[in-house]
Structure formats: C-alpha cells, structure tokens
Amino acid sequence: MATTTATITLSSADLLSDNLSLSASMNLYKGGTTDTGLDEIKYSRAIIPTGTNFVLISESSALNATGSNYVYIVNKNIDSTDYVTVSVRSEVIGHLYAGDWMFIPFSAATTATAGTDDPSGDDSDIAIQANTHECIVEYALFHDGETLLTHTSS
C-alpha cells in the first residue's frame, strides 16, 4: 500500500475581523479499512473545448467497489472569466473559474440502468464543460482499481 496525504489550508487576514487560518490533513485510505492506503493514481491534463459536456472521469464497477476514491481538479486558465462546470452523476456541482481547484471523495453508489457505455449500471461519471472559452484542466484520481477494457482483438 502507499501513503498519500492531502493537506488543505484556508486562510485570510482580512475576510473576518480576525485572522482566518484553517488547516486539515488526511490520509487517502481505501474504504472499509482503517489504515490501508490507496495505491493507484491517474494524473492527467486536458484541454476542454467549449460547447460539449465531456466525461472527465468515467465510472467503473471497480471504482465503485469500496466507494473510496478521491478526485482533484484544477482549472489552469488565467482569464478570470473562463470557467468549467463540473458535474457528478449528472448533478452540477459548481463552476471552477480560472485558478480554482476542488478536492472531493468520489463514490458511485446506488442504481442506474446498465448499458454499453455504463457497464456497472451506475452512471457516476464526473463530467466537465468549458463555457466561455476552452479550458486547460489538470486532474488526479486516487483510486482503488478501475475496470480495464479488454482489447477488441483479444
């Protein structure tokens, strides 16, 4: 197993009348375990054209097995008006404007209808759509396995 830590710091000297300084750390463990670290990662960079809602991270039955995966996404654009819309299981979560990042646990739960594009029957894709301009995003998936596709010639 691997040891991966995530640390967040939220700070401001002038949002409140006193300093805001909030920090938290966590280990990325497999679901259902006390201290077994996730040992698989996918770290990617993509240019997202405008106008289409794309699957950024595709669900899979293996990903769904323990419900314990973690996703980090950052919008690398610079223009403050450029943003992407992030959805999980077809539910819009929010907009990542230029420079914004998000970090969430990613699980796929319950039900849907299985299909050729949805082998687990659980459409829990993370989707992304660039709105005003194409956006460069980087994203990392720390996970507990994913379903590898069998090559068509095998």
């Binding site: 463990y29 698989e40 419900g67 929010g94 914004d100 990042w101 998000m102």
Partner: protein, 146 residues
C-alpha cells in the same frame, strides 16, 4: 475586498516510482472577476446522531446566509468529518439534490464549488457499511460566498 486563499497539497513518496507532489493555491474570487469574496459562514461545527438524511446547507433558505448563494456565483464549500477513522466502515455520505457526491470517512475533508439552485441543498447521511447508521458524528463546515 478581502484576500482569501485555499491551498491544497497532495503528497506521496510511494504511490508511484517517483514522488508525487501536487500543490495549488487558489484565490477565492467572486464569479468571473479578480475581486475577493467578502462573505463567509465562518467555521461551523455540527454534531448529530441520526440515521436519516438531513440538510446541512439549505440552499436559498429565507433569512439565512444561504439565501445569498445563487447560481452563477462563486460559493466554495469546505466540509470535514471530524470523527476518527474508527473501524473504517463508517462514513458520511454527502449529497447535492439527493445525489451522492462522495463519502467522507472519519478525518476526511472535501472542498468544492457550489453552484446551488432550487432543491440543491447539501445533505448528509451517515452509514456503517451499507446500512444507515446513527453513530454520533461531528462535521465541520465553512462556506465562502458572494
């Protein structure tokens, strides 16, 4: 305007052959601008012991801070499950509009943009394995918004 930053660091020396260190710092701006967000709920703590799904952040609730959060703005949400890891089976399922986004096991946190919209409250329900569970759970949360 205020200057508020959110920094993330993801570190591992053994998840791959080379050390992984991902780090980023974001300024929390109002939507589509370089103007800092000026409002926050502050850090709040909620303790509960129910197996039922309940609303943690009620979008648009009249008279509450959440009434100010509307679509196309730039709210950011931080939630942490303060409980210990325990036996590793207990978690708080975080939902938006009753759709599960992810599971916060003990000591886990999340930080994400919140678009909001009618019915798009942020709900929580606690589980032990696959069964809803009433074990006392404490979460801390904070919303930054315009």
């Amino acid at each position: 305007m205020a200057t508020t930053t959110a920094q993330i660091t993801l570190n591992s020396s053994d998840i791959s052959d080379n050390t992984i260190q991902i780090s980023n710092l974001a300024h929390l701006y109002t939507a589509g601008t370089n103007t800092g967000i000026t409002e926050t709920t502050g850090l709040a703590r909620k303790k509960f012991a129910t197996a039922s799904e309940f609303i943690l952040l009620d979008f648009g609730l009249a008279g509450s801070q959440m009434a100010d959060i509307t679509a196309d703005k730039s709210a950011k949400v931080y939630i942490k499950n303060i409980n210990g890891r325990g036996d590793g089976t207990k978690y708080a399922a975080v939902r938006i509009n009753s759709i599960e986004i992810g599971r916060l096991y003990g000591e886990d946190f999340m930080f994400f943009p919140w678009k909001g919209g009618d019915g798009k409250d942020i709900d929580i329900q606690t589980y032990s394995g696959s069964s809803a569970d009433a074990t006392e759970t404490t979460v801390e949360f904070c919303v930054f918004y315009e």
